[in-house]
Subunit: 444 residues, 2 copies
DNA sequence: CAAGGGGTAACCCCCGCC
DNA sequence: GGCGGGGGTTACCCCTTG
């Protein structure tokens, strides 16, 4: 135990000697010591995977990082707990930003907020239950042009500390400059990890009491290469099983070179039965926020009744995808023709509910396609054409829906997003890939 | 005549004495002199009404101002002619930028290009036929932050020249600063006029030989408040006469607070018969480049056959509108039902040509709706589904076209833009509000 | 390279809500 | 008034094509 403390003290003094720009040296040496005796930090609540980084010039508070399970009603925040700590000395947890790499390095960006200092370190005291919550962590985006300079200065400082004797080839300042330039180019400015470290303070000195741990990555919401993928609106939610139906899709910023539109079908357990990708070119991506695509053919072009699948945006580079929107493949016209004419006399509502109940056993699935639930027409029949929810989104039927296969006008393919059920349905909300509480009517 | 030359010489010496930042003092005094004896500048070719202004940092050439009648095949450039000039001394024409105001003031932006100097003055010699053509005029965008300083310096220089005695109240430098700040805010940085002046040079002195004239305004193509309005794509080009059809429209950047969608109908002489505006809210404008709107009802909701009107974007602030796209109002379903079933047996192509010939007498109209021409199907039947022209635009049929009124799928409402006819159709090209050489098929 | 574009970085400001 | 968001502008940077 004594030996361990010595190691810790060495680390802290060393790290402070380099002008207070402390780094988490990943604590490999500590991690190897016995789990039974070593205090350990644990992340109780991870941060959300995305926040808009702010420039220094964007003064004022713009809201901090929430927890991954945060919701409109019940906000959570990044939270850590220190385990196996048995002393009575007050412990502080320090959070700071590191690169999103296998071996995280100190980032040029900084944490900012209530408990943060100029260097981007946020320190909060551990409460009695050994828990610390970070309620106000913003991420300060350090301008691209400043990056090489910052890295250069860090390198010089490190060199000084190591008395240069540690460095075999005596590097000229010029080569250090060049190295900094290269490193600056390599640094991903749109993704960071948060490093948490536990400290005790004594006589103006800080002593680490555990090895540092890193949060999951937090991406920059404003960057088109890491921002959230989101389908905002489509002009139709159905098409023929033969595919090649033209669809207008409005979305949040995407990179036209890095975006696909994925159609997929799952069974009632959420297992994927089929997938295919929509057809479009870079020229069909309109200013990053709209895509005109053609649907892929369904795996069976001779289906006799409608099949429900999902559409989602997909970014191969980082494997991200948007929530899925229900999409209905319809039988060929001539197959439908006889049926259609009979059906038309039946109440639209009745036939709609019929089809919904077919799908509602999807309600309890999980895994890849995430949590989602369907609700019966009775629950959402109060939503009317073009009604809007509090966020001014269209929650009535989504756009023009006739799929060029019959003459029943709009009512033949609606997508209704019920509003009043849109909250509090479990911890995996953020991972859900399907639009929540959506309902598709088939009125053939 | 001698007296007149004196006036001119005074003006030129005066204007040069203020450190070569010469202004056109609008030449009111000159304009009043006899038209018979005074040399006069005339604009033979106005500049286009829009160009993308370039920042100093956007180095290199990006193409200059063309003339208003310029076309892909035959480029024209701003051109002026000096009339009533009878001396043999070589005349030079100088162009420079002025504000787009009733009483134009020297602008902070500068002309740049082959014959331009650092101050933004472009000087070209008059040719033997008394004509000067400006082939390479770019507009340099001077940053917002620099504007107050520039205006401040100009004010100081003016004050010095006027020996302060001209100014009744001796203004403190502070109030000059404030005035500059105010003027800077008022200056429209996205619209300029070009001032043309004729000079002769003698012994390193320049002498104006005519009063200055100003071009029509040239707006900044990149500003969303003055850029060109353009409909890029729509998901359908027809709808029921009753209106309320949802349409997705992709466009170039618009300001959601300053944009309307106008439907209008003209008779064969181009006179307006009817207009109405589409229904949408600010929330339906998606990131400035897409609008989801609902069609207005046609003036007669009980039409028995299709009616062709036009859609265009309209910006009330400056009265600008985009080219019009043909849009077809269709009769109510039950009205059409009987007709439709009979028609379906007729060849689609035949019925298409029929309807086109109805419209083709629009070809020679002019005035408000501008020049446009229709071409028969025979001319453009080579365009195929989703084919693209050299600019990668869709020139095949535009999107999904079934208008929820019959089951004839896409073919029932096409818009084909013929490619090979897309040139050389007259001097008023830039004013045309209708999409050129477009053709609408009605296949009922 | 000229002649056009589209996209990004950095910044500025707007709302609705306590 | 300032928080918690969000959209839009400014200035800049780059890419296509001939």
């Amino acid at each position: 135990m004594f030996k361990w403390i010595l190691v810790v003290v060495y680390r802290v003094v060393y790290s402070h000697s380099i002008r207070n720009i402390s780094r988490c040296p990943c604590g490999q040496n500590l991690r190897n010591s016995s789990r039974f005796s070593t205090p350990q930090l644990k992340i109780l609540e991870q941060p959300t995977n995305r926040i808009r980084y702010r420039y220094r010039s964007e003064k004022g508070s713009h809201g901090g990082l929430t927890g991954e399970n945060s919701s409109q009603n019940k906000k959570t925040y990044p939270t850590v707990k220190l385990e196996n700590y048995h002393s009575t000395a007050q412990v502080y947890i320090r959070a700071s930003l590191y690169t999103n790499e296998e071996r995280p390095k100190s980032h040029v960006h900084k944490l900012m907020g209530r408990h943060c200092n100029e260097e981007g370190h946020c320190t909060v005291p551990l409460s009695d239950n050994m828990i610390a919550t970070f309620q106000n962590l913003g991420i300060l985006f350090v301008g691209k042009k400043e990056v090489p300079d910052i890295l250069y200065r860090r390198k010089l400082e490190e060199t000084q500390v190591l008395h240069t004797s540690f460095i075999s080839a005596n590097p000229s300042l010029l080569s250090v400059r060049e190295e900094s330039e290269r490193d600056a180019k390599d640094m991903n400015l749109n993704s960071v990890k948060i490093c948490f470290e536990a400290f005790v303070y004594e006589n103006d000195m800080s002593y680490a009491v555990s090895s540092p741990i890193f949060s999951r990555p937090v991406a920059n919401q404003k960057s088109p290469d890491s921002g959230e993928l989101k389908i905002v609106r489509m002009d139709k939610y159905c098409g023929p099983a033969t595919g090649d139906e033209e669809v207008f899709l409005l979305c949040e910023k995407v990179n036209k070179k890095e975006i696909k539109i994925r159609f997929f079908e799952t069974d009632s357990d959420g297992h994927q039965l089929w997938e295919s990708f929509a057809n479009f070119t870079e020229a069909d991506v309109h200013h990053q926020v709209a895509i005109v695509f053609r649907t892929p053919p369904y795996r069976d072009q001779n289906i006799k009744s409608s099949v429900q699948v999902y559409v989602q945006l997909f970014r191969p580079r980082d494997g991200e995808y948007s929530e899925g929107r229900p999409f209905t493949y319809k039988p060929k016209e001539h197959d439908l023709d006889g049926v259609e004419k009979k059906r038309r006399k039946i109440s639209h509502y009745n036939s709609g509910v019929e089809d919904i109940s077919n799908n509602s056993n999807n309600g309890g699935n999980s895994g890849f396609v995430g949590n989602h639930s369907f609700t019966s027409l009775a629950d959402s029949s109060h939503t009317t054409q073009s009604s809007r929810d509090s966020n001014n989104n269209n929650i009535g039927y989504y756009g023009h829906s006739s799929c060029s296969h019959d003459s029943t006008k709009r009512e033949n393919c609606l997508q209704i997003k019920s509003n009043h059920l849109n909250r509090n349905y479990g911890p995996n909300r953020r991972k859900a890939n399907l639009i929540e509480n959506s309902i598709t009517l088939f009125v053939n």
